[in-house]
Symmetry: C2
Subunit: 246 residues, 2 copies
Amino acid sequence: MRNMKIVLQYDGGRYDGWQKQGNTEQTIQGRLEKILERMTGSLIEVHGAGRTDRGVHALGQVANFKVPDSFMAEEVKEYLNRYLPEDIKVTEGQEASERFHSRLSAVSKTYRYMIETGKKDVFERKYIYGLGHSLDIEAMRKAAAYLIGERDFRSFCAGKRIKKSTVRRLYEVSIEEQGSKVILTFRGNGFLYHMVRIMAGTLIETGLGKRKPEDMPDVLQAENREAAGFTAPPEGLFLVEVEYDT
Amino acid sequence: MRNMKIVLQYDGGRYDGWQKQGNTEQTIQGRLEKILERMTGSLIEVHGAGRTDRGVHALGQVANFKVPDSFMAEEVKEYLNRYLPEDIKVTEGQEASERFHSRLSAVSKTYRYMIETGKKDVFERKYIYGLGHSLDIEAMRKAAAYLIGERDFRSFCAGKRIKKSTVRRLYEVSIEEQGSKVILTFRGNGFLYHMVRIMAGTLIETGLGKRKPEDMPDVLQAENREAAGFTAPPEGLFLVEVEYDT
């Protein structure tokens, strides 16, 4: 079997997220598997690096799956793009080593959260969170600094009964202004359920003056979802890139 | 009565263009008039500067209409934005002089046509024409130069029985590259039915080597739609701005 690595772009607006759930077809994984089944005549499981939620977008999601050797990498990529809807696209497709796994081999992932502090542009309405208020960027940067490093992010996890470790390492949280837009970038070795959106929401509340930057250590220490801020809406979130050790 | 001037942004993707037609509500003009009727209790006619076609977008469409003096300009703008769907937005709204007319007072209009010569991005798929071929920009610029000035643009008009003058003045046709995108900008004192899209199509055919730049004068002289190129699709077209004296 040939192990295929693909890079994907998608507008998550009309999908129930990455992961297949029951018999819904409205997931990215479901769409890919259906096309691969039609191509090869057999069931093929597609593994994604990041399980993006309903409505979340991707600029560089990575996935892998096995196809019979008779299918060449380029052919698989073209077949997928021919049958995928126009809001999902394979931008790269190549054969990977047998041991490559999109999620398990990843060393880090980068997410971006887009905020409009001014008026939301009609053309970007589906790809940015329309906050409509100005933000104190310096306060947000101070708060963000407390998140960097290896931390227990339980307070930033929406899962109810969490059995596995909630310790993750954040390498970078940057906050940039671009005109009236504020762009949050998070790079880490892994992210819990809703973690990026809860971090974005907590930083937004800090930028609005509803929280103090110095309170962030308490939020972390609480190890309780209630201590953190709101879950920022999905339309502002993009999985930008998944990084691997060559 | 108070004469209102508004500036509008819209994603034309799901509309049958600017102009009201019969009893369809799926036009920008129809949407605005319905909301104004609800606000004032009387029928109000909205005049647009450019009658954008089905599927064409606007960054700066201008319109005017009369409301009873009891309605303040800011109030009208806010009321419209409250009830307009999220793909139409009033970005400016102010009282204009009694004699102001969005179309008749305009001195020029600027349209932009967006072309993707490489791979169409999932997020821009509705706002750019996915040509997918490289273009000879210099040839396009040479061809475009013949269009500038006062010309009879009958060859670039899709109307079948044209009774009125087809002479218009083009002030500017610029062709810019931005990565794999090519951006055509047209500024003129008026545009005929489908004129921008036919000019874009003819310039694209020139950029693809299907036409020679030197043939453009013949295309103009033919005064026949058949002599010009194809009508480029609406999703790449934006009404950018309408210019007025002061």
